[in-house]
Symmetry: C2
Subunit: 335 residues, 2 copies
């Protein structure tokens, strides 16, 4: 029989109450399995298959405070976003995601249920966006701030990686995924998801999630178009990246790496041109394709590649390339 006390203990049981081994035993069954896994958790390291003799790797850290607030994100949201943002970097190389390793540092007072929720979010994201991709290893540590550090792997399936440096004058600039919604969602959370003292507030955020479900979800639980990465590579994309810091800033990265300019057509950017250009964390894929190529499903044309080296333009007019900087963008608050 489960008593109310048992239920309460389950809910309030913290990392400090149980051993690392017990936490791992509760997390493992919730994690997604990787079909590339030759040897999984339980040894000093995992072994993964790399069928074409190469593998793609990227890493990204998410920290309570600068990167998320627990009043706004559920543990499942955190696991989902940590997976999605890393997998998007894999897709941006034209690769198919195969596996993740996940290091989590948490205060000893953290309920075990929080780590279970993070594991659930990792699984939900992989199952929904990258079936066959799973978690093959990790590390648990103690810290004052909840910290998720994910490293993701991908398989190029025999193709060359799509770099930032291959765009050529005359190429079509195209985007797969959303544009500006995640930035709007974050601005809404900072404006209306806080209490009267400006502190992140779960009740206010819940109201906001009802009013602006798409924008808030784009921020807290992004859905990057992962399949569009390999599709773009197959279609002959000359350059590609994940749009994480805002369209203008990330387009500038392709422009500088390729020694070209990027000229967006304002009509293609929607009614909120500034939002489309500066909003971060959409995790769409920005790619360039040779003229005349039929764009893969999911991509829409936004502009053309020009000879204005390093420039980002809209209807031929230069734009600033401002965006997110991790050291300057955080005010030190946590919540």
């Amino acid at each position: 029989m489960t008593t109310a006390d048992d239920a309460s203990a389950l809910f309030t049981e913290t990392l400090n109450d149980v051993s690392e081994i017990a936490v791992l035993e509760r997390i493992f069954p919730r994690l997604p399995r990787s079909s590339a896994e030759l040897l999984g958790p339980g040894d000093d390291a995992a072994v993964l298959s790399a069928p074409d003799g190469r593998f793609v790797v990227t890493t990204d850290m998410m920290i309570q405070g600068p990167d998320f607030r627990l009043a706004w994100s559920t543990p499942q949201d955190l696991g989902w976003k940590a997976a999605a943002t890393n997998l998007s970097d894999i897709a941006a190389m034209g690769a198919r995601p195969t596996a993740l390793v996940v290091a989590i540092a948490a205060p000893p007072s953290t309920p075990v249920a929080v780590l279970e929720g993070i594991a659930d979010g990792l699984r939900e994201c992989c199952e929904a966006l990258a079936p066959g991709c799973g978690v093959v290893g990790g590390d648990l540590s103690a810290s004052d701030a909840l910290t998720l550090s994910v490293t993701a792997f991908g398989d190029l399936e025999g193709r060359e990686p799509v770099r930032r440096s291959g765009a050529r004058v005359g190429d079509v600039v195209a985007l797969a995924g959303r544009l500006g919604d995640a930035g709007v969602g974050l601005a809404l959370l900072f404006r209306h998801g806080v209490d009267d003292d400006g502190m992140p507030n779960a009740d206010r955020a819940a109201v906001l999630k009802g009013q602006y479900p798409d924008e808030v979800a784009a921020q807290l639980r992004p859905v990057p178009p992962l399949d569009c990465g390999p599709a773009a590579a197959i279609a002959g994309a000359t350059a590609m990246l994940d749009v994480s810091d805002g369209l203008a800033l990330d387009a500038g990265r392709i422009a500088r790496a390729s020694g070209v300019g990027i000229d967006f057509a304002s009509a293609a950017l929607g009614v909120r041109v500034d939002v489309a250009l500066s909003g971060g964390e959409d995790h769409g894929l920005l790619a360039t394709f040779p003229p005349g190529v039929r764009l893969p499903e999911g991509f829409r044309a936004l502009g053309v590649v020009t000879a204005d080296v390093g420039s980002v333009l809209v209807d031929g007019q230069p734009r600033t390339q401002d965006g997110w900087d991790p050291y300057r963008g955080w005010d030190g608050a946590v919540g």
Copy 2:
């Protein structure tokens, strides 16, 4: 001409004073290069070679407070130890380390020189212990606590990975590397490397480094015997792991995974048997070899594999398998 003010600015310039891009430009030249790198930093992900169609991967996080104190470790020490501990996990599979990705979160007030020092330490460790291994990517974030999250890769060179589960009754138990020194070093630092209020103190630690150079260095700047990992695999090791949490606890892991017991000969453990069994962070390699195998250079016999399933024994007498637990082992202090 460099003025005193310029020199002072160089020393006190913080992450908050410069952009992420400028920090990266100062760090990159200091990082070790990987000979497995097909595509390095500058795109959304790196591409690494995996010549035998597989790769080994492990990840480990180090956080100011539970894992290190800035009063005791230099930035170079931190970079060195972050690399060494991860590379030791790769070697423990019988693999040769090929590359690292490194995510660093730091308070915006951190001097840029601290990140440069960490990069120097990463390079010094790879050059000294694993030539050809290098950093192929990373991530910079803001955080209240300095945090290093390293993921390391290795090449099995066509061999099968050496797991924890292959030890057989009658095998010889052998160790490469130091035993207990790192634990003694940590105990000395906590006892004598603190001020009168118990806070970590750099001046007191400096005195200690002069008095006990081997033990303190074993803790702050461990030198795992990385070459012994592939050598053990080639010699036919049946099981192996990196001794990070203490010999008794880690031997228990082999014992349980393999369904055997491990019986150490006290005479082989040195004069400080308890220290040898319980001291953590030595990052030696504990392996089992079939009887009659000539032990590879660097290994010394410590005992035998017995039929006492899951047990760790010394001269036939059971020992507790206590060791480090990240949530219970940290008192919350930082320093």
